[in-house]
Symmetry: D2
Subunit: 336 residues, 4 copies
Amino acid sequence: MRARDVGLSCGSLPVGEGNNIADVPGVTVGHATLIEGDIRTGVTAILPHDGDLFPGKVVAAAYVLNGFGKSTGLVQLNELGVLETPIMLTNTFSVGTCANALIRRAIVSNPEIGRETATVNPVVLECNDGYLNDIQAMAVTEAHADTAIEAALEDFAVGSVGAGTGMSCFGLKGGIGTASRLLCFDKQPYHLGVLVLANFGRAGDLRLPDGRRVDPKSSPASEAGSCIIVIGTDVPLDHRQLGRIARRAGVGLAWCGSFWGNGSGDIALAFSTAHRVPHNADRDLIDQRVLAETRIDRLFQAAAEATQEAVLDALTAAGTMVGRNGHRRTGLAELL
Amino acid sequence: MRARDVGLSCGSLPVGEGNNIADVPGVTVGHATLIEGDIRTGVTAILPHDGDLFPGKVVAAAYVLNGFGKSTGLVQLNELGVLETPIMLTNTFSVGTCANALIRRAIVSNPEIGRETATVNPVVLECNDGYLNDIQAMAVTEAHADTAIEAALEDFAVGSVGAGTGMSCFGLKGGIGTASRLLCFDKQPYHLGVLVLANFGRAGDLRLPDGRRVDPKSSPASEAGSCIIVIGTDVPLDHRQLGRIARRAGVGLAWCGSFWGNGSGDIALAFSTAHRVPHNADRDLIDQRVLAETRIDRLFQAAAEATQEAVLDALTAAGTMVGRNGHRRTGLAELL
Amino acid sequence: MRARDVGLSCGSLPVGEGNNIADVPGVTVGHATLIEGDIRTGVTAILPHDGDLFPGKVVAAAYVLNGFGKSTGLVQLNELGVLETPIMLTNTFSVGTCANALIRRAIVSNPEIGRETATVNPVVLECNDGYLNDIQAMAVTEAHADTAIEAALEDFAVGSVGAGTGMSCFGLKGGIGTASRLLCFDKQPYHLGVLVLANFGRAGDLRLPDGRRVDPKSSPASEAGSCIIVIGTDVPLDHRQLGRIARRAGVGLAWCGSFWGNGSGDIALAFSTAHRVPHNADRDLIDQRVLAETRIDRLFQAAAEATQEAVLDALTAAGTMVGRNGHRRTGLAELL
Amino acid sequence: MRARDVGLSCGSLPVGEGNNIADVPGVTVGHATLIEGDIRTGVTAILPHDGDLFPGKVVAAAYVLNGFGKSTGLVQLNELGVLETPIMLTNTFSVGTCANALIRRAIVSNPEIGRETATVNPVVLECNDGYLNDIQAMAVTEAHADTAIEAALEDFAVGSVGAGTGMSCFGLKGGIGTASRLLCFDKQPYHLGVLVLANFGRAGDLRLPDGRRVDPKSSPASEAGSCIIVIGTDVPLDHRQLGRIARRAGVGLAWCGSFWGNGSGDIALAFSTAHRVPHNADRDLIDQRVLAETRIDRLFQAAAEATQEAVLDALTAAGTMVGRNGHRRTGLAELL
């Protein structure tokens, strides 16, 4: 069940075919889900294209809305303006393990890494699922990370899957959500898609698009949340423009009722699939295409709308779950 | 007429006595308003305390939500973490003139400036009122800046006054608005107040707190807006904390329906009156007080709520105005 | 007299034809110099190309090494990644006046500014010449700013001219200096040029390229300096890359012996003339060229070397000057 | 053998008793060194005080000089302004493993982490030792990280130990180096100490304090270096001030001859031991002490001088080493 199935649509821009991040041609998403005993966690992988990202990097930018978070890889991503591994999402204490898996995979495909050429920059983003999950168990292994990457498809699940398995959002069950918007530049169709790992917001603060508030009552206040927002697009953009678009994810979170709380590591990462940036360029100067800046408002609006809807999508798709110590999060659909 | 007079209240925190930025003890606001021929512009001054700010600076931080703006003084303010002049608001093409006025005033009070001691850093923020105002006339003089500072009072006007005279907001008449929230730390009362110069938002995007949309219909889309948000508080905070609070002004703008458009120079500046930072310290090490970080959510919420309400306050207080070339902006109160 | 005339050359890269910023094709520089009574100040204008910059912007980035400075225009320059006026250098208290002049000139050429289109973002950078100059007199007028722009030539003076007239550097006479480096990409020649307004450094800290220290002895410690570094190039680069290059100006200052003192507003601005970014694009998507990132070290080295040499050039070209209150700064050439 | 033993002293400020980072009271350093087969790597731990850092955090700031690096933990460190684990240094591909070790140790001491309270933010910084070390082997284990922490002492080794085991610098053998400076504020003694993991610089670019260049000739150009600079002090400072001081590490690297090359992940982290910031404050408002800003130049100079000397210390202490594939790096002492 998706957000639009229960009447939760956001904004005014036209929606992509699948209303998901895979509407951006080439993007795929895979999950590894761990549910056993007190474990409610997992890994989600987003692949910008079906090739190897190390030799064929994509232009990217990250924006930290609120930095109470432990993501890795953002320093280099913002210095060089490119992404050179799949994007991994997981729980806070599994960042290191997923990073190790990304390094090992990159070495297998590119044995010159760390020898004849530079090292590789793994990008892993995270939220704290400790309310439902025994996060101290550090249950995610490198094999789970591999599984998520190898499972990547255009047609992927949302809700309590992958990294979203144990997440909470506005005192309800959170998880993975997605949405997309259709754009048009120079008479050609383009796409912007969003995937969120939604684990933020105080109980009672959720605001639906029609203005209704949703209060799960019994749920305790979330002390330490987070929201990771991944934005993909096939519009040609440079790093600076992607950074401006990533910032608008904050609008989408605000439209859901959040004020980006102190304990919430809210981080957005945007990438464009329009170019592949070679690891070893065969010329000094490279031709590329960018958007005329005065047209960027459509992308800002698309990013804000799709982020808002992706959060509602996560809430809608995630069913009620009982986890560690009998902790319980109710699914939004049950309350509506 | 204020926002609450027409039922537009925001959020859940208690409101300060005057529901304005002067609820923060010591803060005063003054205006100089220019209406003549095609001129619809002015100057607004915010004084953090009633003393000279050069010898008695206040801790401050600025945050650029969207940098399509021409404000001056923010580089030094963020490097040194202090404000050493009144804050001036005006139209885009009067920044230099207001800065000159601030410099001359500081020299009069502190004749050692630029001779025996460092220079002074004037802080002037701006929006483009060119739809209603003949901004090319550059009508503001240094005398107008002086007038605004000298007129500063705790009891000040809102709406189409001072820098707000010619502003537009969501295709309606914009201007100056304000709001405040009451806080409590260690059982003592504290205050956070916001003053906005509201000149942003596309016609039709305005969202009232109850979810209603307001569309002025006939008004053309605003190409180049902006919103300046000044946040004052008497809570003891350091520069980093004030920067985090300033960022939450973006939540307030989003709650009004904005996605921080490309052409909007949205900039927030936050200051704390809790300490006076001496220009010439008589000791090397200075004692000061800061907030325990885990208590900062109350200030985030207060900043977001008060920003949202201050924008609605500007819209409510500003009556319909006809300006340059017969351009017209309708007041929100007329539509409600 | 230039730095190389007294044996002060820096680094190993080949030097451009004139060893100045005008080696970058299209770049010109003009000065207005004010020497009268206690006045020792002026204005310097750098024009990236001979056309109107508002319709034909250039890609640019600014980097704040130490933000104890009052420059204006950097917020928008870094958000949008373009420069749309000439770059003006002047004393700290003349920033507003030069900004006003830039606005008026842009309106004359583009009467739609602030009416049918957005406003214009004037870029003015500054140092404090208050030791030799009566900076409180605020002697620079808009006419002086116009004069500097209209005087711009490829063949321009250095030393105690324009904005450099009253500047001090390492306790010696500072001013305007310049240098350039020749580059080669894809077998084509390219250029990187630097112009500095040198007004920084404590007496005794100056380090010549051969390791010698120069101590002017009698000069008092400079309390409040600054160095503005303008870097121009015809290499095709995007905003992010220009920001990385601008940062290397800090290396050049360090190589001169500076540690970027607290009171020094050290700011670098880099622009590329390779593209003209239209104010009104006639297509949504624009083709442009950028440098392959792995080739950027040559530009880093060129920026560092040319900045170091431009500072030494300012020191060499500036003769001994007596100014306000009989204050005196000795020229480096006199000491060598 | 230390830098001063071979005549390599830097700057003019007085040196601390041990001329190392442990001159800052409470700071200790430990190493785990791995030399076996093609493995030349390790882990270095810096402990700001002898207590548990999670309940007793220290104020800290990080500054990215050049972000071609894969360090983790800096996002949260800069948002909240505190450090809550030991600082770990290691090779690029062991960041995840060291982070996991820090998490497990924090959980053991604070079992409420990720359950009743927030998660913990591990801080791990890295350089690429792939020239001498088989970095693809990912030989560092969590046990090695534990060993380094448990080995921490005031009296610690420098050179080719711990994380420095396999590092290269200016085409020579790099490694761990340290230096300190003595300061005085309000007539009390204070300290600033630096520890570097030196792995940067092109062969031939090394500049000794007397101006001499050192060229190892036969060594190939370093493609992918990095330098991590850790600055500790007992001077009371806030996050903003520590960030300004961290930036001056770049001056020290420049004084060694570097221009912060594209492939070098140069990152500085500064902390102050003057306060312990409680995880759970028992009051809302906390008293603390900061430095009057006008006194900060002494710390800037100390940071620049001690960084330069710490790099020379690493070069001096590290003897010639042969590693992976017979790759060889000569020790500086051998050349002098």
